[in-house]
């Protein structure tokens, strides 16, 4: 797996099951880059886990619990995720708002209506979640220790 154009995170293998390798990594907040991290704990860091299905690049036997790994996601997939999670709902929100305002609805209805539209959108995403999980694949790679 070439590492071109990819986002790479440090992670640690925390579980190995029949179908997945579970990897844990720390998701840092926007402020995490800041040197004041130690002082400012408002910058959330959450530990997340992802399941990585076995594939050619992750042969089962190679990994053990506690192994440090790199989690790799290509940038284009990352942008795609952003698109699905944020950009489209934003567009729906705006369009809905403008349509409703064209009908001279009350502001409360307008607001709730467009939020509802976004909710419906998310529902659709929910329905297609299995398809999505095929699109968003990650791979892991053992960290080379020198």
């Amino acid at each position: 797996m070439s590492k071109k154009d990819s986002i790479i995170h440090d992670g640690v293998v925390v579980g190995i099951s029949e179908d997945y390798i579970t990897v844990e990594f720390v998701n840092k907040s926007a402020c995490a880059a800041c040197r004041a991290k130690g002082v400012c704990a408002a910058s959330d860091e959450s530990i997340r886990e992802i399941d990585i299905p076995y594939s050619i690049s992750t042969l089962a036997g190679d990994y053990h619990i506690g192994d440090p790994v790199n989690i790799i996601l290509s940038s284009s997939l990352g942008l795609k995720a952003v698109w699905i999670a944020y950009v489209i709902p934003l567009a729906i929100l705006l369009v809905m708002l403008l349509i409703l305002s064209a009908f001279k609805m009350s502001e409360l209805i307008m607001g709730l209506g467009s939020v509802a539209a976004v909710a419906v959108y998310y529902l659709f995403v929910y329905i297609f979640r299995n398809k999505l999980s095929k699109v968003f694949t990650f791979s892991i790679e053992k960290k080379l220790s020198k």
Partner: protein, 298 residues
């Protein structure tokens, strides 16, 4: 007025309630705590991010040392034993002592000792130079003097002396991170124990050519005569491919080999000055800096 207060309380109360429910849900899904020991260990580490430990950086080291079953497998060369024992204490484990090491440059082909036979005019880098040709002296094993090691060292511990043309290690600053070892295309630099009072004895030469060829190239080159191996009472010296090597695990710093070496390829540094013997001292002829100077170096 009191309605305002009531409304205020009601409003915030509702919000607070809502919020705590949301948070409860969140809490079900997320763990929000990194092992606090990682940060603790990281704060003990020197923070050089040099990679000398074989990890990606200090944070990675901290992560791994916390997760590792015992800390013995990892060692921060920069922090040395002091830091490792602190980490061990923090993790409630036993520290594993390691002997402090320092970089040693095994070439002494200074301008005086080794004639430059051509002039290199490319990008000043040992790597570029060694990829191009054998070097600007007749010794193709020796230091190229372009200072890749100096650039690699984060600790300002190794410098090319412009008057001599080979690097010198500042033992006090050297942390044995090994960056210079990795950077030298000629493989000249070795990590050796600092030794008591920084005293060491080593062969400062890498030339594996035949004696005659070596001699032509450099007056302090090891000619592989094997006298040192014979004289060493501890069997610490081996000669292979016309080059002697002193095994530091066996060497007891007796300096017999140093006295024996006809070309002064063997170095004994930081020993107290010995009074010069008679004028017939066998090897005063090569123009080597005498140990007197070496004392200054330390």
């Amino acid at each position: 007025m009191s309605t305002t207060i009531i409304l205020t309380i009601a409003c915030l109360g509702v919000l607070g309630l809502l919020f705590s429910v949301v948070l409860y849900l969140v809490a079900q899904k997320f763990k929000v705590e990194e092992d606090p020991r990682i940060e603790q260990v990281e704060s003990i580490l020197p923070g050089a991010n040099c990679g000398g430990c074989g990890q990606a950086g200090c944070h990675a080291f901290a992560e791994n040392v916390v997760k590792a079953p015992s800390i013995g497998s990892l060692f921060c060369p920069v922090g040395g034993n002091a830091v490792m024992s602190k980490i061990a204490a923090a993790l409630g484990q036993e520290a594993v002592e390691k002997e402090p090491m320092a970089a040693v440059v095994r070439c002494h082909g200074t301008f005086d000792n080794r004639e430059r036979v051509n002039h290199f005019d490319g990008y000043s880098s040992c790597k570029v130079m060694s990829a191009l040709y054998a070097g600007d002296t007749d010794c193709r094993y020796g230091c190229l003097g372009e200072g890749d090691c100096e650039d690699a060292c984060q600790f300002d511990a190794i410098h090319i002396d412009p008057k001599r043309g080979v690097p010198e290690v500042d033992v006090d600053k050297c942390t044995a991170c090994g960056a210079c070892v990795r950077s030298c295309p000629k493989g000249i630099i070795e990590l050796r124990p600092k030794g008591p009072k920084n005293r060491k004895v080593y062969v400062s030469c890498m030339n594996r050519d035949k004696g005659a060829v070596t001699r032509k190239a450099c007056i302090v080159g090891c000619i592989g005569c094997g006298k040192c191996a014979k004289v060493c009472p501890f069997g610490a010296i081996t000669v292979e491919n016309n080059l002697a090597y002193i095994d530091f695990t066996k060497c007891k710093l007796c300096r017999k080999c140093y006295d024996e070496c006809p070309t002064k390829a063997i170095w004994a540094v930081n020993f107290p000055i010995r009074l010069p013997k008679s004028a017939t001292e066998p090897h005063t002829e090569p123009k080597v800096e005498q140990p007197v100077e070496e004392n200054k170096e330390a």
